[in-house]
């Protein structure tokens, strides 16, 4: 048993750190630290910066333009990015669609779509959830019927994160109503500029526009945009879910945010003394910090098992549950630390052209909004209830 990183890994960490120091713009990192949604340009610009270094898809095999990073390298990269507030690489193309294409796509699909991802030619979004099927994904209703060389797609997707920027969407659609619900699902790549697609914003409770509804009315999709076999989409979706988990514990991000919380709580006061000296608040912070220190090891244990045995198993559901709960606890403590000023809600505080008053402490501008927005983290990507069902059945065999 040895929990230390190898020399190579430590050197890689230094490289990442240096790279971030040289390339990350302060305004971007400030926005990330305040939990402010980046603009399309800002995200694409960061993707380009990473792509120039070859790190946009580090975990991809080298033959596809990646670095062949193992899970530990990916972990180190994400931890360093989180530590300084670098933007998260959008997962839809790189962590979700790409592994499916690599495993199940045709040579032609791989050869066409993967380079375009690296170049930033496409902005991908995910078409899974529907109004009537959240956690019960297999009950989805969007249909694709074959007509000649096309599928005709009808239906509605929802909860489509950043779909407003996307030109492509990968969808689960119903291609057959025979057998179990899972057996008639296919995996389709759809051009968002097709006739019959409408994207409507769906504001979240903090007032942000991050998610969308996507409506499909007789949308024509060429059959070459089917991934793998017809009616096998459920298998690919499950494969994708497993791959999606790698960074889901958010250890690096939460570490940075606990540090910021402690800093904040040393500036705000309770009965004349710094809040962080209040034994009850200090205990809340310490509990969260310990949970996180434990999660760091749990995360590495599960990842290194994945490293050895292929994709992470159902145990990775632990990471989703704990990662979201700890993140939400930090959100909660941050708004508590702000006391009465938590009510302030100025998410455009760092926008170019903002000419409102300064806010002190600046965290007050977004803390409550972030708290409410992040309630989503225990809901999306398979709610924590679904994760518990998975552990219960697949790990505990109940």
């Amino acid at each position: 048993m040895d929990l230390s990183f190898s020399n190579e890994q430590e050197n890689f960490r230094k490289d990442v750190r240096n790279f971030l120091r040289d390339t990350l713009k302060p305004n971007i990192s400030s926005k990330m630290k305040l939990g402010i949604l980046l603009s399309k340009d800002e995200i694409e610009s960061w993707h380009n910066t990473l792509n120039e270094k070859g790190w946009l898809a580090g975990s991809w095999p080298k033959k596809y333009g990646g670095q062949g990073w193992g899970v530990i390298e990916s972990f180190i990269f994400e931890e360093e990015c989180s530590a300084v507030g670098a933007p998260r690489i959008l997962p839809f193309a790189f962590n979700m669609l790409a592994p499916v294409l690599m495993a199940f796509g045709s040579d032609k699909q791989r050869g066409y779509w993967l380079p375009r991802m690296l170049n930033g030619d496409d902005w991908w979004c995910q078409g899974y959830s529907e109004p009537g099927s959240g956690s019960d994904l297999a009950s989805l209703k969007t249909s694709a019927s074959r007509e000649g060389n096309h599928y005709i797609v009808n239906g509605q997707k929802t909860w489509t994160t950043l779909g407003q920027h996307a030109n492509m969407i990968f969808c689960l659609v119903k291609t057959s109503t025979k057998g179990k619900p899972q057996e008639g699902i296919s995996f389709l790549l759809i051009d968002m500029n097709s006739d019959g697609i409408e994207v409507r914003p769906l504001r979240t409770i903090d007032g942000e526009h991050e998610i969308n509804e996507v409506f499909f009315t007789n949308v024509k999709v060429p059959i070459e945009n089917l991934v793998g076999e017809e009616n096998k989409g459920w298998t690919y979706a499950k494969y994708l879910l497993a791959h999606e988990r790698t960074g889901i514990a958010n250890v690096g991000l939460s570490k940075r945010r606990i540090g910021e919380l402690k800093q904040l709580a040393s500036e705000t006061k309770k009965d004349g003394k710094p809040l962080i000296q209040d034994p009850i608040f200090a205990a809340r912070v310490a509990k969260t910090e310990i949970d996180l220190a434990n999660l760091e090891i749990t995360n590495l244990r599960i990842l290194s098992r994945a490293q050895a045995g292929g994709s992470p198993g159902p145990e990775s559901s632990i990471l989703k549950i704990l990662g979201s709960e700890i993140g939400q606890e930090i959100d909660s403590l941050t708004r508590r630390a702000l006391g009465r000023r938590a009510t302030i809600h100025v998410p455009n505080i760092l926008d170019y052209g903002y000419n409102g008053p300064n806010i002190s402490p600046i965290n007050a501008a977004t803390a409550a909004g972030v708290y409410f927005n992040n309630r989503k983290t225990s809901i999306y990507g398979g709610s924590n209830e679904i994760q518990k069902n998975i552990i219960s059945k697949a790990v505990l065999e109940l």
């Binding site: 959830s129 009537g132 099927s133 959240g134 956690s135 019960d136 009950s139 929802t158 909860w159 769906l202 504001r203 979240t204 409770i205 903090d206 007032g207 998610i211 500036e267 705000t268 006061k269 309770k270 009965d271 004349g272 809040l275 209040d278 009850i280 608040f281 809340r284 939400q328 909660s332 708004r335 508590r336 702000l338 006391g339 009465r340 000023r341 938590a342 009510t343 302030i344 809600h345 100025v346 409102g356 008053p357 806010i359 002190s360 402490p361 409550a368 909004g369 708290y371 409410f372 309630r375 989503k376 225990s378 809901i379 999306y380 709610s383 924590n384 209830e385």
Partner: protein, 375 residues
């Protein structure tokens, strides 16, 4: 022993909840909340005309209610309607403060009753969390005037108010609870600067800064240096009201969530058939019942000794804080994605419920207070 409302109060409660349900839609509320004023002048007048202010104020303040039970009855209804108008501050707390003032000052309070004035009482400052005696704004005597310097922080409803009521230190004493005075000035007094912000739960909050603001001696409310008990009483009454508002919100969230559990289907059955959600919903129900009990207790002991009042009030606000967070978070979680959307009612109730924890002391603050009083 009798746990039911008197028939007059029951009628008031029913009238108010009916009004809020039928006339005061969430859509209109949110529209008003995002206006420049942050609430609706029309709604303010309607609420005044329903007799809400009369019910909240004691006869000596011009009303014909003002018992703790009147206050929790009205504010439970206000919570159920997610009312965003400044009933708490302008009608209840300002009137209580002004009742210690001159006849001229009391006249402002009378105008409130008629729906014609809206003074706002600003007390808390800066980064200090919730301690009532943490006042650093200075008001220094200078001939026939006071010179005021300082900042009051995150004041709700100040935009559109007629007068600013505020606290300030008028002398330094060894006891930090002494030496605080109260003043009322017109909002347009020169030297005041305002910074306004959107509030996460709707409406506008303001920081108001005094830079060598020269105010008349007769701006003083009551006796110099001895305002802490007036402030405490107003804030304690406000705290009781806030607790009841939170309860009204919790009951609405309970109804919304129960309805969702009964109608939303997954895996072919209503999700309310899943035992996990049944037990979690039951937990919320139990906690809400306990919250109601806590508030009843606080209102029952409200006119007892100061220590007893503070003890049970802190017990209630602690309970409201702890249960409020639980109810808001669990109800969103049980809704899944739907609970996260602006268009659905739940989130707006949840936001207000959480932010009530940030007014007049959160659960940790009041647990600590309770522990002191019960040691």
């Amino acid at each position: 022993m009798d746990f039911s409302l008197s028939s007059e109060r029951q009628i008031l409660f029913d009238t108010l909840t009916k009004y809020f349900r039928n006339e005061y839609s969430l859509e209109r509320r949110n529209e008003a909340a995002s206006s420049d004023l942050g609430f609706s002048r029309d709604s303010w007048k309607s609420i005044a005309s329903l007799g809400v202010f009369d019910a909240l104020l004691k006869p000596e303040l011009g009303g014909f209610g003002g018992d703790p039970i009147d206050i929790i009855t009205v504010f439970e209804a206000i919570g159920s309607g997610l009312v965003i108008e400044p009933v708490l501050n302008s009608a209840l707390m300002s009137s209580m403060v002004l009742s210690h003032g001159s006849e001229q000052q009391k006249a402002v309070s009378q105008a409130v009753l008629a729906g014609e004035a809206r003074p706002i009482f600003a007390h808390f400052e800066d980064l200090e969390q919730y301690e009532i005696h943490s006042v650093e704004t200075q008001s220094t005597e200078s001939g026939n005037a006071f010179i005021v310097n300082g900042t009051k922080s995150a004041v709700r409803h100040l935009v559109g108010a007629c007068h600013l009521i505020f606290s300030a230190r008028t002398s330094k004493t060894s006891n930090e609870k002494d030496g605080i005075s109260l003043f009322m000035i017109p909002l347009e007094t020169s030297g005041l600067t305002f910074e306004t912000f959107e509030s996460i739960d709707g409406g506008i909050v303001s920081d108001v800064t005094f830079s060598n603001v020269r105010i008349n001696k007769d701006s003083l409310i009551g006796k110099k240096d001895q305002a802490i008990s007036i402030i405490s009483e107003a804030i304690e009454t406000g705290t009781l009201a806030l607790c009841a508002e939170a309860l009204g919100i919790m009951e609405r969230i309970k109804d919304i969530t129960l309805n969702y559990l009964k109608t939303r289907k997954q895996f072919g059955v209503p999700i309310g058939k899943f035992q996990t959600l049944q037990h979690r919903m039951t937990q919320l129900f139990i906690e809400i019942e306990q919250t109601r009990s806590a508030i009843m207790n606080a209102s029952f002991w409200f006119n007892d000794s100061v220590e007893t009042r503070k003890k049970y009030l802190s017990a209630a606000k602690y309970t409201v804080g702890r249960v409020g967070a639980l109810v808001a978070e669990e109800s969103i979680q049980m809704h899944g994605g739907m609970g996260m959307t602006w268009e659905y009612d739940l989130g707006h109730f949840a936001k207000r419920l959480i932010m009530i924890n940030h007014e007049f002391g959160d659960e940790d603050h009041h647990l600590n207070y309770y522990a002191k009083f019960s040691a």
